[in-house]
Amino acid sequence: MTGKELAEVTGGKILCGDPERSLSGCYIGDLLSLAMSRVQSDNVWITIQSNINIVAVASLTDAGCIVICDGFSPDEDALEKAKDEDILIITSEKSAYDIAKLI
């Protein structure tokens, strides 16, 4: 599945990054040091965290994308950094569970 396809099926919005990025597997969680060890490369990482530190975690783990769920939006500096680092960020009104079901 690509970022674009994920955004389509979940009714989410792509804020930055490459829509054609290929994605596989998923991790759901909001604690950064758990995500750090659990997120595998190309994973969809679903979280409600919206601060700049999620970009570092996604970049260091080679996550496929960050999906910020439950209607939250990334902080401005997080979005800027994600653009610089070419990290795909998708926002969605849906819950983590509902998004994961659709992957």
Binding site: N53, A56, T61
Partner: protein
């Protein structure tokens, strides 16, 4: 070949750049052709140590020493020190403030991650003086 040595200063309490040095090292290791496995181990362990420096110890400096056989990272801070290392090493133990917990820190998994993803983890700490964390990841 001489070892490649890198030095970074880390600001305390600046969350916006926290983890940036780990990202730089990760990119460097990638350019040097290290395996994804080694890169992942270094990235996770160094990130956790770098973040701890920022959220618990007011920053410090990092020295990285890269050879074809292993990657060594030393992180020296001038923070409060760790009173009970054994306790600090336990999964779930954290003294993180509410402010940093709201950002997603404080799972108490940083030190356990450092242990899990390195071949060697050495911590020397002195109360009121600071902490030195040494991480070694061997190239298998």
């Amino acid at each position: 070949m001489d070892n490649l040595k890198l030095h970074y200063d880390v600001n305390g309490d600046d969350f916006s750049v926290a983890g940036e040095n780990s990202s730089k090292v990760k990119k460097m290791l990638k350019q040097l052709g290290f395996s994804p496995d080694v890169i992942r181990c270094v990235a996770i362990a160094m990130y956790e140590a770098e973040i701890n420096m920022v959220i618990h110890a007011n920053g410090g400096f990092i020295d990285v020493d890269i050879s074809p056989e292993r990657v060594k990272v030393e992180l020296q801070d001038k923070g409060p020190g760790i009173p009970d290392i054994e306790k600090a090493m336990q999964e779930g133990y954290s003294t993180a403030s509410n402010r940093v917990r709201e950002l997603g820190f404080g799972a108490g998994m940083g030190l356990p991650n450092m242990k899990k993803y390195t071949d060697e983890l050495n911590i020397s700490t002195e109360i009121g003086k600071g902490t030195l964390v040494e991480l070694i990841v061997n190239v298998k």
